[in-house]
């Protein structure tokens, strides 16, 4: 059955980032130079071909864009300046919107107003919520060790309930999207028959790649791997501490600096700052192919994380210094940034790659292992 070509597809794709995909004449230099491309997953050439021809249904099933770590060697080598590296990035955005069943992801990626608007609306709602529902208002008395009574202003039990509601909703959206990704890339692909046990046998890949991100090592410039790992670990740690374990993290008592609560917090803060400095400097100066093209979602990611980190640092400082008024407002600001960042970015936008990448590698490994089995059966 012949698949219908859709020459208008490129125009749609360009809404996720403008790149001259039509310039590619399929020489394959990009795939040849790519350290991640192999005989089974040929990219960027092949996915670009599918884009050019507008074979949407085929594009939906590709895992290749997630296997790309955007070192940019392909774009450097491209004889037609078609920027295959950035095209993979655009494709990741597109796929994110395909996996998302709510359609919000597509809105956020293709409309500046939607993305910025969502962040603002959620931020303002959260600020109003925290201002309206605090039992004691600004508590000016201090704890015996001179800290601000943050738990009296914003009772941890109440906030924790909110945090868990948020956690569960973010997780359910993300999990639903991952299931959809699995459906599109593995289940729908009739060319491979996947034995059920393979999902268990390859499961370790998911964790290995999530925790180490070792695919970055294949790229020439390893600095990116180090900073990315630092940022990711700091971010995940902070997420676990704040959203998952608020009662342990938000205390009135001031622990000694060497206590795990503060040490872990400091590690995360430093990791976030170092990562942010690296990424924002790279993007501002457009260093290398990787940072040459920045989409709004890339900047929102950096800006929100930067605001969250700095407001967190300030809050920590004000609380320890016994400055209740400053702490009160900083807390609200911190939440008004943190919540929209997590709600918009994690399930629907840039941050979802945290989950999609390791899952893609996991699925790709399964697919690859399933193929020889299929061939054996055919024979």
């Amino acid at each position: 059955m012949a698949i219908r070509v859709n020459p208008g597809f490129i125009n749609d794709l360009n809404r996720f980032g403008k790149e001259n995909i039509e310039l590619c004449y399929q020489c394959g230099d990009c795939s040849a130079v790519c350290p991640h491309s192999d005989e089974f997953y040929k990219f960027p050439r092949k996915p670009i071909r599918l884009l050019q021809m507008g074979l949407e249904k085929k594009v939906e099933t590709t895992l290749e864009p997630w296997l790309c770590y955007y070192c940019g060697d392909c774009s450097d080598l491209c004889p037609r300046d078609a920027n295959p590296g950035d095209t993979m990035m655009i494709l990741r955005r597109y796929l994110t919107s395909v996996y998302d069943w709510t359609g919000l992801s597509r809105k956020f990626y293709t409309s500046h107003w939607w993305e910025i608007g969502a962040v603002f609306v959620i931020g303002i709602l959260i600020a109003l919520l925290f201002s309206a529902f605090n039992p004691h208002g600004i508590v000016t008395t201090l704890t015996p060790d001179g800290g601000v009574k943050i738990n009296e202003m914003f009772p941890v039990e109440t906030v924790n309930i909110g945090a868990h509601i948020m956690l569960i909703s973010i997780a359910s959206f993300l999990i639903a999207n991952i299931i959809r990704m699995w459906y599109l890339t593995l289940l729908k692909d009739r060319s491979v028959r996947i034995p059920f046990t393979l999902y268990f046998r390859k499961l370790y890949q998911l964790f290995v790649h999530f925790l180490t991100q070792k695919q970055f090592i294949k790229c020439k410039d390893r600095s990116y791997w180090i900073f990315h790992l630092l940022l990711m670990s700091a971010y995940v740690l902070m997420f676990v501490l704040i959203v998952g374990n608020l009662r342990w993290f938000q205390t009135d008592r001031i622990y000694s600096w060497y206590q795990p609560q503060r040490l872990l917090g400091y590690y995360s803060t430093l990791g976030l700052l170092a990562g942010l400095a690296f990424f924002s400097w790279g993007r501002i100066r457009k260093i290398g192919q990787k940072f040459k093209f920045s989409h709004l979602s890339d900047w929102i990611f950096i800006i929100l994380l930067f605001l969250t980190t700095t407001s967190g640092i300030l809050l920590h400082f004000f609380r320890l210094s016994g400055m209740p008024v400053a702490s009160y407002y900083t807390y609200i600001i911190h939440m008004a940034v943190l919540v929209p960042m997590l709600c918009v970015e994690v399930p629907f936008s840039k941050w979802s790659h945290l989950a999609y990448r390791p899952f893609a590698i996991y699925f790709a490994e399964i697919k690859k292992s399933a193929l020889p089995a299929r061939k054996k059966n055919d024979a």
Partner: protein, 582 residues
């Protein structure tokens, strides 16, 4: 014969090493020693490069010192250096035809591995050359007058360019065009790739200049029906058959020195490929039909709608086993030109370019290809042997036709929507090219294109002196190449006109009129039409300037009345005998 008159000829033999080309297989010293022992050989030498200046100088010195009157050089093929050594003989004051070459390179050292056998063969070849050269006669080259007028057949861009180039130098040109207007195939084109110059501008400028130039005499609606004579002295009969311009049946005889054949091409008949449905599907058109639409100002489907999808199919009739194996060279860029023209007429139209390979070889072509990609033309590749299939779309589709292709770059079996399909028909030799080849006595290759005398070094000359070929009658080519060839042909002719006279090789066949019985066998056999029949004397006569000395007439003559000069029976028999005297 001279050899009989003189008691003993004095022969010098030179064995060339050709660097190591000959020397590493053939024992050159041994060959020279062997030669020096043969009768009438005054001296025999071997030298590293006989063709070099010192080598030639050695021959000249020896001729003078030792009073040599025959020379044999055992070296490469005479194709390579016969002229060189003949000139050396001339410099030494000896007739250039008292010379013979033994080919011990191409016919010996290059094709053998055994030293002993190769050396023996070289000796045999030298011995044969010696036997032959003894019978050589001194011959004189002929000089014939060069008529400064020229005939140009074909009024396309090549013919017009050649005609103007010749006429601008002040010589008369007869320009014969079969159609009722000048311009040829280029007159059917709108814009030209890759710079999008208007074809009309290119042609109009030439036509105006031709009309203003009194030296160009144009015959429209006319054909050259007869061409006799030889270089410098051709007689052409031009017959008009279009009564709008000339009286029908009117014949003109003109005298010309040289002829430029620039008869162009015709396009491939697209209905020969059934997959494409040309002639059956109304919106499958050829590139020339699209040109006509563009020139008329609107690109639309048969029922007058603006097309939403246009597909352009490359290599229609070209680069395939069933039709033509060659590439037609202009279609790729023309297809890109169409993409650009259609896009500017209908900016929202989707254009698919279905190709095999993109041949963007010329100046500005690669950039043009890139530009077309930037304009969002969708390029789809098909395998040469696996042609796309065009069929009518269903009632639910938003297009007229669907083109099924096994797309090579993605490996997917796809269908492409199309409202209008443009078939890039290739070039092929005109159906009357065989007639023209016979008329001017030149050869055609298997595809019907005229053959040049050397594909690289003589691209516009033919095997018949005075007949030049230019443009797309030689092979498919674009406008710059056609114009370059036309100017090259004109330059070759002008060089000859400037010389005033032309030297013709003394090697030709001649008829002994006293023996000739007038049977005319030879007249029909001569592949160069060099033999005419003298009705008064009732005997055949060979036009020496046309004769290539192939020897067909010599062999065929039942009365043995024809002698091939420099290839007499005695000379050849002596050579054969010489081979076996070892």
């Amino acid at each position: 014969m001279i050899a009989d008159k003189k008691a003993s000829p004095r022969i010098g033999v030179y064995v060339c090493w050709c660097g190591t080309n000959i020397q590493k297989i053939v024992d050159v010293e041994d060959v020279a020693k062997f030669a020096s022992g043969l009768p009438n050989v005054v001296l025999a030498k071997s030298y590293k490069y006989m063709c070099s200046n010192p080598g030639q100088e050695m021959i000249i010195q020896d001729i003078r010192e030792h009073k040599l009157d025959r020379i044999v050089v055992a070296a490469c093929s005479p194709n390579m250096h016969e002229r060189t050594f003949r000139n050396a003989l001339r410099s030494a004051g000896l007739n250039q035809y008292l010379f013979e070459m033994a080919n011990i390179r191409e016919q010996c050292s290059w094709v053998h591995t055994d030293h002993m056998e190769a050396t023996e063969k070289a000796k045999a070849l030298v011995s044969a050359a010696l036997a032959r050269v003894e019978l050589h006669e001194p011959l004189e080259n002929m000089s014939v007058d060069m008529c400064p007028n020229s005939l140009v057949i074909g009024g396309g861009i090549s013919g017009m360019t050649a005609a103007l180039e010749l006429a601008d130098s002040g010589f008369i040109v007869y320009l014969v065009e079969k159609d009722d207007h000048l311009g040829g195939n280029l007159a059917r084109v709108d814009l030209t790739a890759p710079y999008l110059y208007s074809a009309r501008d290119l042609i109009t400028e030439k036509i105006i200049r031709i009309k203003d130039n009194r030296k160009v005499i144009v015959y429209l609606g006319s054909k050259v029906t007869e061409l006799t004579g030889f270089i410098g002295n051709f007689k052409a009969t031009i017959q008009s058959y279009d009564n709008r311009y000339n009286y029908p049946g009117r014949k003109v005889n003109v005298k010309v020195g040289n002829v430029v054949v620039a008869t162009g091409y015709k396009e491939f008949d697209a209905s020969r490929i059934v997959h494409y449905g040309y002639g059956k599907l109304p919106n499958v058109i050829t590139s020339f039909e699209l040109e006509k639409m563009i020139r008329n100002g609107s690109v639309e489907t048969r029922d007058g709608r603006a097309p939403k999808y246009v597909a352009i199919v490359h290599c229609v009739g070209s680069r395939s086993k069933e039709f033509h194996s060659y590439c037609s060279r202009v279609c790729c860029m023309t297809a890109l030109k169409y993409a650009s023209e259609i896009k500017s007429a209908h900016p929202d139209c989707y254009i698919s370019d279905i190709y095999v390979d993109m041949h963007a070889f010329g100046k500005g072509h690669e950039e043009f290809y890139r530009k077309s990609s930037e304009a969002k033309t969708l390029f789809l590749m098909y395998e040469k042997g696996d042609r796309p299939v065009i069929h009518k779309a269903g009632p639910k589709d938003d297009c007229e036709m669907l083109i099924e292709v096994n797309e090579k770059l993605s490996g997917e079996h796809i269908e492409i929507p199309a409202d209008l399909v443009v078939l890039m028909v290739g070039m092929e030799a005109r159906e009357d090219s065989g007639e023209i080849a016979r008329l001017v006595n030149i050869s055609q290759d298997k595809d019907g294109w005229f053959i040049e005398s050397h594909p690289k070094l003589e691209p516009v000359a033919t095997t018949t002196d005075g007949i030049f070929i230019a443009g797309t009658c030689v092979a498919p080519k674009d406008i710059p190449d056609s114009v370059a060839q036309a100017r090259a042909a004109a330059a070759r002719i002008l060089a000859r006109i400037a010389q005033g006279k032309i030297e013709v090789d003394a090697v030709y066949s001649e008829v002994n009129e006293e023996i000739c019985s007038g049977c005319r066998f030879c007249n029909q056999l001569c592949p160069y039409s060099a033999i005419e029949f003298n009705e008064e004397k009732k005997c055949s006569h060979i036009i020496s300037a046309l004769c290539k000395s192939c020897g067909v007439c010599v062999a065929a003559c039942p009365s043995s009345a024809i002698k091939g000069r420099h290839f007499t029976d005695q000379q050849i028999l002596a050579q054969v005998e010489g081979l076996f005297t070892l």
